[in-house]
């Protein structure tokens, strides 16, 4: 079997390393984290660690592009097979907030470490992020054109809706006094209010 650069599904060990890196990046920041820290967190030393992952930068890139790919996929699934633009916005906003509530560390690192990404990773992530924002804007523009939304600026409205997700990633806790579904359903409603649905 080739051990070349072909992309394969990550094994359990690679996943464990990725999760440890994510936790460390979130806790102390990318700059302050070393590969030795990541190795220590999963009980591996240099050589065996490097069998699974090329560098700290590769780990960050994998986390950040993976997060954006997941969000893009989540959006596609949310709006698929749904005609009504109001319902599509609700579903997309709900999916956005649910993802952020479930992936708080990814959201945190994704916002904070964009400057730590080197090229071509930085451009890769920014391109995916732009595609995700565009998908929301297209939805908002379509609804506004159809007279279903009352929107002053599509761009600001998309920011506001997307920022709801980031916010939830900051304060949401699994053991808090609001369940994930309560948060998700109410935020879906917030998105419709922001879009000016009556």
């Amino acid at each position: 079997m080739s051990r070349g650069p072909t992309r394969r599904a990550p094994g359990p060990r690679a996943r464990e390393i990725r999760d440890a890196a994510l936790a460390l990046f979130a806790e102390r920041g990318y700059a302050a984290t070393t590969m030795a820290d990541i190795g220590a967190a999963v009980g591996m030393r240099g050589p065996s660690l490097y069998k699974h992952v090329g560098s700290k930068q590769e780990l960050l890139a994998q986390i950040m592009t993976g997060t954006m790919d997941d969000l893009l996929q989540t959006f596609r699934v949310a709006v698929a097979g749904c005609e009504d633009v109001v319902e599509r916005l609700r579903r997309a906003a709900e999916a956005h907030v649910r993802y952020h509530a479930r992936h708080r560390l990814e959201a945190f690192v994704g916002t904070r470490e964009i400057r730590s990404l080197e090229e071509p990773h930085r451009t890769d992530v920014l391109r995916r992020r732009a595609a995700y924002e565009s998908a929301f804007r297209a939805l908002l523009a379509e609804g506004a054109e159809a007279g279903r939304f009352r929107i002053a600026t599509v761009k600001l409205t998309s920011y506001a809706i997307l920022d709801l997700g980031m916010g939830a990633a900051v304060w949401y806790r699994e053991n808090g006094d609001l369940t994930e579904d309560q948060v998700v359903y109410q935020y879906g409603d917030f998105a419709l209010r922001l879009a000016g649905v009556h």
Copy 2:
């Protein structure tokens, strides 16, 4: 003149040190910043630096409590002398977003470094933050009771409104295609929409 622990207004040098610390904390994180880095940024060495500031921790505490004091003061000014609860919410939300657009680094560090604060600073900051959130919640509850707002959960609505500010701090740029006022006025409107004002 006493050089004791009496609190005085910070001199220009202390302000410069504070700003350099803020920029470094925002850029590379609190943990990865040293007092030597801060000194280098303002062209000062150990002894003269320590004449102005006690420690890196003191700088962080000063930045974070100062930010919350500013926000609390901004809120008070925004709602003062205004009877109408809808108008008070609009003004408070506008002031919140304007502060975040103007103090992006403070907002960023304030969110990220809460865990880096030692006691009693951490409790000081969390207490101020709770007071600020409470002020918004009291406004929302008052408006809901008066039948001016339609709110499912005061807590979630307050989070959503406050998160708009955090979001703006992330993406707002002085030289962007939206002026500060455009952002502020539209976000004031967003707050009223989130509160269910007709």
